[in-house]
């Protein structure tokens, strides 16, 4: 089992004819993902990895009854591509684009809410349920990172996620579904919004969140635990504990604003509701053991 995506999810790839699009489509299919077709305006009639390409998402949906759309689309075209997917009735959308304009992202999130849809990203590697399916750009063949298991992972980072999941695997665990919500200040969907799905998923026995300084997504997870929305054990790793205050270190989301969003605040909020916070990536596995999470 998994959340968001599994081997039955019918996926189309927007931007399938691009370099990244075709490269990752190959690997998505290789993993078992049901990629049924792609969309690139003007490329209708072509085939990528044996899958037909259409001029529009509408055509893709009409021909294949698509559930989810994976976007390999440049940041400046992402808003339009997401709107097209929403307009075609698709409720699960993943965009890896790094550099989506802030105001576009606000409108994307608003539109997604209006359509009762999930948009994951941008600035993420996407979503992966190891051994089942993925939407994104994960080197899923690296066994020491993408091992199937019972830990649900959510993250704001890319490379750091690999670092942490490698440690989870090293400790003897594996991942049910990993969702990269992305590193932008306004992600399409926030950590807490996925918690009901993880809570309902029978194969997810614990949650790991990989956060960092800035924003309030980790605090929102703490609130959800307090409200009983998540009852499963949770371990967090948070980057930026020693970052100098007020410095912008890469992610725009990592600005400390109004005295809020420091790693200390997040640690306090999470530990108050019984979650454990690992000081180093390597300790995440240890804390899962401490919470008696079974290794399977």
């Amino acid at each position: 089992m998994s959340i968001f995506i599994d081997q039955n999810t019918k996926v189309c790839v927007q931007g399938i004819t691009g370099k990244e699009g075709s490269f990752w489509t190959k690997h998505m299919i290789e993993l078992g993902t049901q990629v049924l077709c792609g969309v690139t305006p003007g490329k209708e009639g072509q085939f990528i990895e044996g899958k037909p390409v259409y001029n529009s998402v509408k055509a893709a949906v009409e021909h294949h009854g698509i559930d989810a759309s994976m976007l390999f689309v440049p940041p400046r075209l992402t808003k339009d591509a997401v709107m097209e997917a929403l307009d075609a009735g698709i409720k699960k959308i993943v965009t890896i684009a790094d550099g989506i304009p802030l105001h576009d992202m606000v409108l994307i999130r608003q539109a997604a809410k209006e359509h009762n849809a999930f948009v994951v990203g941008g600035n993420t590697s996407g979503v992966i349920s190891p051994k089942l399916a993925m939407m994104g750009s994960f080197p899923h063949w690296i066994e020491r990172v993408y091992k199937k298991g019972n830990i649900g992972v959510m993250t704001r980072s890319g490379s750091l996620t690999n670092e942490v999941t490698a440690m989870i695997v090293e400790a003897g665990y594996g991942v049910s579904t990993l969702i990269g919500v992305g590193g932008d200040p306004v992600p399409g969907t926030r950590f807490a919004e996925f918690l009901p799905l993880y809570e309902a998923d029978k194969e997810t026995e614990a949650i790991v969140i990989i956060g960092e300084l800035g924003g309030t997504m980790e605090e929102e997870v703490a609130d959800a635990i307090k409200e009983g929305i998540l009852t499963k054990p949770l371990v967090a790793f948070l980057g930026g504990r020693t970052a100098p205050k007020g410095q912008k270190m890469g992610h725009a989301g990592a600005i400390i604003s109004g005295g809020k969003g420091s790693v200390e605040d997040k640690i306090t909020a999470l530990t108050e509701v019984g979650a454990l916070v690992a000081e180093r990536p390597r300790l995440v596995g240890k804390l899962l053991e401490k919470l008696n999470v079974a290794k399977k």
């Binding site: 750009s137 306004v186 980057g239 930026g240 890469g250």
Partner: protein, 374 residues
């Protein structure tokens, strides 16, 4: 990208927001002409991008021409290498208000922030007296609506003419926010004058970096960098911060870089620079190393764990950089992710000893920085 006050005020003026009369000067001798136009008393304002100019003595209220002149000379000789100074008329202030528009990440909406207590540290006020700050969410599909502007303006209990002017100002400021893809547009203080005019005392406009491609009006580069390395990184769009420690970081991924930063501190090391060459920059290893080499450091630590940023491509770039730039200090590499085994081969073939564990790499770099062996 942050604009200078004079640039922000140009934008404001064009949007119908009243700003004080001012003249921008680039040399001390231009002060005569400026004073002839602006008069005294006036405010001498250094055009620098850092906040807290008042506290830092970079903005001065001057009563006489002599005072203004000596202030201008002092500022042009300042360490900060100030290039432009704004000579602005002194406004007859009755009251100061705070106004800004930004994006609220939690709501995923625009946010108009107004406080009748302007001119002071709004962040402190947000903590100590949050009830004094009005926060109005804005649905970008509909834009800031007149009723919202009106509701807030009337709540400030000002004379009718001021209320009307505030409504217009909020709506105009929103237009600036949208037109310039602003992360933040702020007027602090917004003056209400004794003549009941509403005048922007300061102007802050931060354009979202991701939107610069559709904001052609401004140069991408502001000249307010402290070092050559900072300037060159900014020119490439590479996230970079210079510190004064020992280890030059050249990592991929903001989260991983930040984590390596933390781990170095845990191990007792210090940082020379933060540099992130991941994401769209992962093929820029040569440039990234060139920038790192401009920063004094004892060792360069490269840590990556990429997906789209492929390990083999980055390894090739690093080898290329080393061959071209012949770095004068040790390099520690820890390159993982997509095609990581190819990366290891590439690095070894070039005579490097690639590490594969982040903590080990960090410890190695700290040891070298502290005079140990590689």
């Amino acid at each position: 990208m942050k604009l200078y006050e004079y640039q922000a005020k140009d934008v404001f003026k064009e949007a119908g927001i009243t700003i004080p009369n001012s003249v921008l000067i680039e040399k001390p001798e231009e002060i005569e002409n400026a004073l002839a136009k602006v008069g005294t008393p006036c405010v001498v304002k250094s055009q620098v991008l850092s906040g807290g100019r008042g506290k830092a003595g970079l903005v001065k209220f001057t009563k006489t021409e002599a005072e203004a002149k000596s202030e201008v000379i002092r500022l042009f000789n300042h360490d900060l290498k100030i290039k432009k100074i704004m000579i602005e008329e002194a406004v007859n202030i009755e009251k100061e208000i705070y106004v800004s528009i930004t994006v609220d990440p939690y709501l995923g909406k625009g946010l108009l922030i107004v406080s009748a207590e302007g001119g002071i540290d709004i962040e402190t006020l947000a903590v100590t007296q949050p009830e004094k700050i009005i926060k109005e969410p804005i649905d970008l599909r509909y834009g800031l609506m007149p009723f919202q502007a009106s509701r807030i303006a009337y709540s400030l209990n000002q004379p009718k003419v001021v209320t009307k002017a505030l409504i217009k100002l909020f709506l105009n400021l929103y237009k600036v926010f949208r037109k310039y893809d602003a992360e933040l547009v702020e007027i602090n203080p917004l003056f209400i004058t004794k003549d009941l005019e509403v005048v922007a005392g300061d102007g802050k406009l931060m354009i979202d970096d991701n939107s610069m491609f559709r904001q052609s009006e401004f140069d991408k580069i502001q000249t307010d960098y402290k070092t050559v390395a900072e300037f060159e990184a900014a020119e490439e769009g590479i996230p970079f911060i210079q510190f004064d420690g020992d280890i030059g970081l050249m990592c991929a991924g903001a989260g991983l870089t930040t984590t390596v930063y933390d781990l170095i501190h845990y191990e007792g090391g210090t940082i020379a620079n933060y540099l992130e060459f991941g994401g769209p920059h992962y093929k820029k290893a040569v440039k990234a190393m060139e920038i790192c080499l401009k920063v004094p450091s004892k060792v360069i630590l490269i840590v990556t764990f990429g997906t789209i940023a492929r390990a083999d491509v980055m390894a090739e770039g690093i080898v290329d950089a080393i061959q071209r730039l012949k770095p004068d200090r040790p390099i520690v590499t820890c390159i993982r992710g997509t095609n990581e085994l190819e990366a290891v081969k590439i690095l070894k073939a070039a005579g490097l000893e690639p590490l594969f564990d982040t903590e080990e790499a960090v410890r190695t770099a700290v040891r070298i920085a502290q005079g140990g062996s590689q």
